[in-house]
């Protein structure tokens, strides 16, 4: 989760690479939904430790229940975007929310496009 957020940050960086590279350099997000998703990821990364600890107190059979109820209220008070459940694994290039393969972070259409142009390493048309 943290790694994904970091990768997204790198990808959206507006720095020119020090060496001239033939790849496309995008200096923008594809759409606003992608921007919001990026914000959610960032916030989830920031609050991850807190959430983990409060949840450890909540999901417990040892501690008194009053304490757990207080913990419930506390976690609900955290910003809504800090929960990891709101993150959607969108396609990195087209921001498509569905049909995204997790390994490549690409939607099926983009994946097919690149694979047919032999730009996906180790990907071959299946035939058996």
């Amino acid at each position: 989760m943290a790694a994904a957020a970091l990768c997204w940050a790198l990808r959206a960086a507006r720095q020119v690479l020090p060496s001239p590279c033939p790849r496309q350099v995008r200096s923008y997000y594809v759409d606003w939904r992608m921007v919001r998703d990026f914000k959610r990821r960032k916030m989830a990364y920031e609050h991850a430790d807190e959430r983990l600890r409060i949840n450890a107190i909540r999901k417990n059979a040892i501690l008194p229940k009053e304490l757990q109820e207080v913990a419930d209220k506390e976690i609900a008070a955290l910003p809504r975007d800090s929960c990891p459940v709101r993150i959607r694994n969108r396609c990195v290039l087209t921001s498509r929310p569905r049909g995204v393969k997790r390994r490549w972070r690409l939607s099926r259409i983009v994946f097919r496009h690149f694979a047919d142009h032999a730009q996906m390493s180790g990907v071959q048309r299946a035939m058996w």
């Binding site: 001239p20 430790d49 600890r53 450890a56 107190i57 417990n60 040892i62 501690l63 009053e66 304490l67």
Partner: protein, 331 residues
Amino acid sequence: MLSKQKDKSAASKDSSPEGVAKKQEDGAGTPKQQLLDIIGDMKVEVSYRKKLQQLKASESKKQAMAKLEGPDSEGSVPQGVTEDTQRGKPLNPELVKAASAVASSLPRNKKQTESELLAQLRRHEETTDEQKKGGIINIRNVISEMTIKRQSPAQRGTRTSRRISLQLDEYDKRLRRERSSALPMDSRRSLKVGKRLNIFTKASTEPEHALKTVSSPTIWDLEFAKEVAAVTAQPPRNGFEEMIQWTKEGILWEFPIDNEVGMEDDAEFHEHIFLEKHLEGFPKEGPIRHFMELVICGLSKNPYLSVKQKVEHIEWFQKYFEEKKELLQEI
């Protein structure tokens, strides 16, 4: 050399009874010249014939005794002495006397020649002793004493080329000989010489000695540096340069692969596992203690967190429970 000695011994034997007067008459001209030639040509002999050596030794002893009895025969004494030095078995006092006589007879630096002769005698003695014992003659010791004639590599190259330009029959033999002779020399010379490449040892990052006078480089300096790098960076000419570029960018790992790149946890294992010392701020009994012990058990099994992070974890809980103290006391 051996035949020469035999002739000499024969000649000396023959001449010993008669030639005393003759040699005196000649003025030791020819025998002296011969003596000088012999001394000039003197080489270290490494012969493996024990019997011959023993024979010569006995002969030399007899001759030494015979010649030393004749006081006036300067010419004959040096001859016998040279034979002795050449065969030289035990460093007899007779031989020492003979050596001193030889040195005195020579026109050159007497003490130097005497010392050289004695050194030669000693060497002979060593070699013969080792042969007697049956031990292997350590040629290296012998060679190390001698001065090595060092040829320049250019000369060596020309020598090989000259040899190669000879007949085809001897081509292979000479090449092989040259190679076999050259290889041990090279390996002896160049195995442990030269800078270490640090391929397989962790290259120790030398501390930067050059201190920057400016505390921090300005933005303009950074921009200028970036511009220069962008202009001078040529596209990679081959796969190797491409891989170098990738390694610099961080795309490619450094080989040999270091499993602990980026991981700079200096803490020992016991600091990861035995975390009970951090539990001092908590009450010793009760559900909270129970809960914290479980937390510590889980942390001790976690290989992904550093010691710092684990300590922070525990401290967060401590802070949290302190804030909730009033609530806890109500319960």
